[in-house]
Symmetry: C2
Subunit: 118 residues, 2 copies
DNA sequence: CGGGTAGTACTACGTCGTGTAGAGGTGGGT
DNA sequence: ACCCACCTCTACACGACGTAGTACTACCCG
């Protein structure tokens, strides 16, 4: 895959947080605090599309963008990618399990248990 | 933290795979296939040290480099970092648990169980 | 004692990803 | 006929990284 830059991530965050596809203009409005040129937003949306993070469909002259995958899926994939970096996946996984907080260990346990039951 | 480049990662791999600190020259020799200039290796070792991935100690005129953390710790940290990217850690964790292979789920389960027992 | 050798520090340069944005084209509404 | 909203293309600066040269120093060999 590939990591995202800071602006790219902000924009993905907006699209992930929003149900339904948005136009560049709409995204820009939702990021009014950053005061970006409209073309900047368009450029980034375009790059994200090219990288496969977004899908776009026509809406009149405008494009509407929406995430190709959920943020959770993206995060999970990043985690797997990190995991791939090691020769010893088992050791890394164990290490990871030991590192997460108690609450999170609980969540993991529950998810794994449910998995098992299916 | 911060990701590593490709060369940087190769060098970390060598140091991670090796017990005990190595000099730049030794690292270079272990990467003979890439035929890098000695200074290249030194530069990268230096950058890695500055980034906090390596510690170095004097050995005569030379420096000896060794990882500040194990590869597993690094991988686990990367995974946690990915996890931090989301607002909903629980959802991402669940997603992650569902995504890993059966074998890996088993490893996770075991690690979590052992955790619990302590 | 003088030179090669190993090692260091410093500097440099090309490339790529990313943030940022302007210029110019085009189609629809008034 | 014109303006506006949008698009596409192109551009540029900056920082990270791969890669390496240069210059300086300390030591061993003969």
């Amino acid at each position: 895959m590939k990591g995202l830059g800071e602006l790219e991530r902000s924009i993905m965050d907006i699209l992930w947080a929003h149900d339904g596809p948005l136009t560049a203009r709409e995204v820009g409005r939702l990021m009014a605090d950053r005061d970006l040129a409209p073309t900047t937003v368009m450029t980034v949306l375009d790059r994200l599309t090219r990288k496969g993070f977004l899908n776009r469909t026509r809406d009149g002259r405008a494009w509407r963008y929406e995430p190709g995958a959920s943020r959770d899926a993206y995060v999970a994939e990043l985690m797997l990618e990190a995991l791939d970096m090691t020769g010893d996946r088992s050791a890394a996984l164990t290490r990871f399990a030991q590192t997460v907080s108690g609450t999170e260990a609980e969540i993991l346990r529950k998810a794994l248990t449910e998995l098992e039951e299916e």
